[in-house]
Symmetry: C2
């Protein structure tokens, strides 16, 4: 159901010819109101793609009537011409939809440093506008795929007559930045822009911001949340926040499950931390340790690599009080050898690493993937 | 010539049986004086192996009469028993050499989290002591190899009657910490411990501390510099510092050239930085970008990945003033498309990336490797 699960939204996904192989590459999501409230979070990379620079400005107004998304090109590091291309895309969508260009967000994903083929993209926007449908969410989710093997959608239905739905793409370059991918969430709940902003920031902080596939931060990451108000229900804020968080967590888990070349999804839970910041710092350090990620790929419960990753952080801990469990077996106790590593069963795709800092009560969960020859292959041949 | 290039040193490398395959695994380096001055730098990982904890204490006295080094086991994360094993090793060396155990440094390298086979190691120390020779430097360098495919030695001869020589091991887990591997440097120049310390810290800061093979910081990294004074020459300090820096740079380059699974050595030069710290921060961020390292492996001049790595730093720069050259071709100018990427020839093992921040006059060079399927294979099967 994707972005059209919520009333008040139409969407489309078409093949505009941006991708040379003819796959779908252009999506359009339109908020038909009555409300046009919106919020967005963007990559914290200082090298931002043109569509990010554009959409950040659009979101300052708190109003988004439509989102144009293309795969097949990131429009990043494309200079003033690239920004003009994004601007022209928003103008084109505004023209065919009868909207204001200042309320049209634009998202792009694909190779960095290449101009978009505007002679294909602009006619594609017209074509997508004609294809808009209240059942178009699935096609939109398909059109934003790059190296994704499957499209990603999620929906949370409240008991109160409103829903939150969403779509996501992102297979490589997943790392906290914020955001970490292209995501569009929609709701027919009646919520103002300020509330959407607060809810979205808190939801992404503990979901998209805690998946770290390969430590690389994109130039294009964007998460948008649009509210149509079409249900005419003003939701309880806590209930609404939980629905948005649920959809974000669902999509984030799908992103990790489809990360480039991955054969294992690794859930890193840091417990016993003095603070949540400490727990997140340690979790990310473990998630980015290439040697550990290779070991997990080889189904090797190499807890020494967990300890050496923890040791690079500034978190509060004593080395001789650290405990590490892999899939529930405490292979490291008090910084030294614990239970027999032969007891660890790593055959399944999901691997759980628990790091106990023995320094407090705070905790955090970070998701990552193993490092595989397929990842190397996919990313050494990507642009050629 | 290795650690025995300098007069006053003897060394040995033998197979003690620590490695199950019977390869050499124990080295001994002895300073026969007349001077016993020494300095050391150690990993900044907070999870330190037992031999690091021991040797840090030894070095506080500024006197080292002998160094025992073993491969086949890191003696890290081995608890109080592991520390006792290191202590017993130093005591054994002191006993057979007639030295003071408090002046015997110990270095270990290999798998983390496994006790050393002391029933093999201690007789090995006796055996090594009997094999000590003024020509033993080569054998010592061979005995400290782990996944290294070649042993690494270097010598700088001064015109003034003294030399600096050294050996190094380290193929994975190379990252600035300090140190980043096991290195023993020797000199017959007559230099006091305080001068050795200052010279060694400055030399490692711009050599070993600026190679970053895989972003992983070891628990065992140790660099020792021992002076025998046997040349009876007190060197000019600047000349001596340059000789030590030369040997460190030579060994560092050899380490990168033999990094696990690597097919490309990548020299990242950051220029136009506001400060040297900025240049180093940017260089390391580029060096740790897995996507870029995969691209280099595929001989793909993917400068967008360089920009997205720069964008994650806090260095002073404007995104639209960044320039990037790959092997001398300025493929990115002013944050956007520059010269034709087809002009970049990446066939050779050494790849040069130049990042110009256009923000000042400071610069730094960081070395790294590409990320390959061989790296994944080697590190997913290492402990099993």
């Amino acid at each position: 159901m994707s972005v059209t699960a919520a009333k008040g939204f139409t969407a489309a996904g078409i093949a505009a010819g941006i991708k040379e192989n003819g796959s779908p590459d252009l999506a359009l999501v339109v908020n038909n109101g009555p409300r046009l409230a919106a919020a967005g979070v963007f990559t914290s990379n200082r090298v931002k793609a043109a569509p990010v620079l554009w959409s950040e400005q659009v979101l300052k107004g708190g109003l988004v009537s439509a989102v144009v998304l293309n795969s097949g090109g990131a429009n990043a590091c494309t200079g003033p011409q690239g920004f003009q291309d994004t601007h022209a895309t928003a103008e084109k969508a505004a023209e065919v939809l009868g909207h204001n260009a200042g309320e049209v967000a634009v998202c792009s994903t694909g190779l960095i440093g290449v101009r978009l083929p505007m002679d294909k993209l602009l006619p594609g926007v017209e074509q997508a506008a004609k294809a808009l449908s209240a059942h178009g969410g699935e096609k939109a989710a398909i059109a934003i795929k790059t190296t994704d093997t499957v499209h990603k959608t999620a929906v949370a239905e409240s008991g109160g007559g409103w829903v939150v739905g969403g779509m996501a793409k992102g297979a490589g370059m997943l790392a906290p930045g914020l955001a970490t991918m292209l995501v569009v969430l929609t709701t027919d709940a009646d919520v103002d822009a300020a509330t959407l902003d607060a809810v979205l920031r808190e939801a992404t902080r503990t979901t998209f911001d805690r998946i770290d596939s390969d430590g690389c931060m994109s130039t294009n990451d964007t998460v948008l949340l649009l509210a149509s108000g079409a249900s005419e229900v003003v939701p309880d804020e806590a209930e609404f926040a939980e629905a948005v968080r649920t959809v974000c967590a669902d999509l984030a888990r799908q992103l990790i499950g489809d990360a480039e070349g991955a054969s294992k999804d690794i859930r890193i839970e840091v417990v016993g931390a003095a603070t949540e910041d400490d727990a997140v710092e340690v979790g990310r350090s473990i998630a980015r340790n290439n040697l550990l990620k290779c070991a997990v790929h080889g189904e090797d419960p190499n807890w020494g690599r967990v300890l050496s990753a923890i040791g690079t952080t500034s978190a509060a801990f004593e080395p001789d009080r650290l405990n590490v469990a892999i899939n529930g077996v405490w292979v490291c106790r008090n910084g030294s050898v614990g239970e027999d590593r032969e007891l660890v069963d790593m055959r399944y795709r999901e691997v759980r690493i628990t790091a106990d800092l023995a320094a407090g009560d705070a905790s955090a969960v970070i998701w990552t993937n193993d490092l595989t020859a397929d990842y190397v292959h996919e990313n050494s041949a990507y642009s050629s």
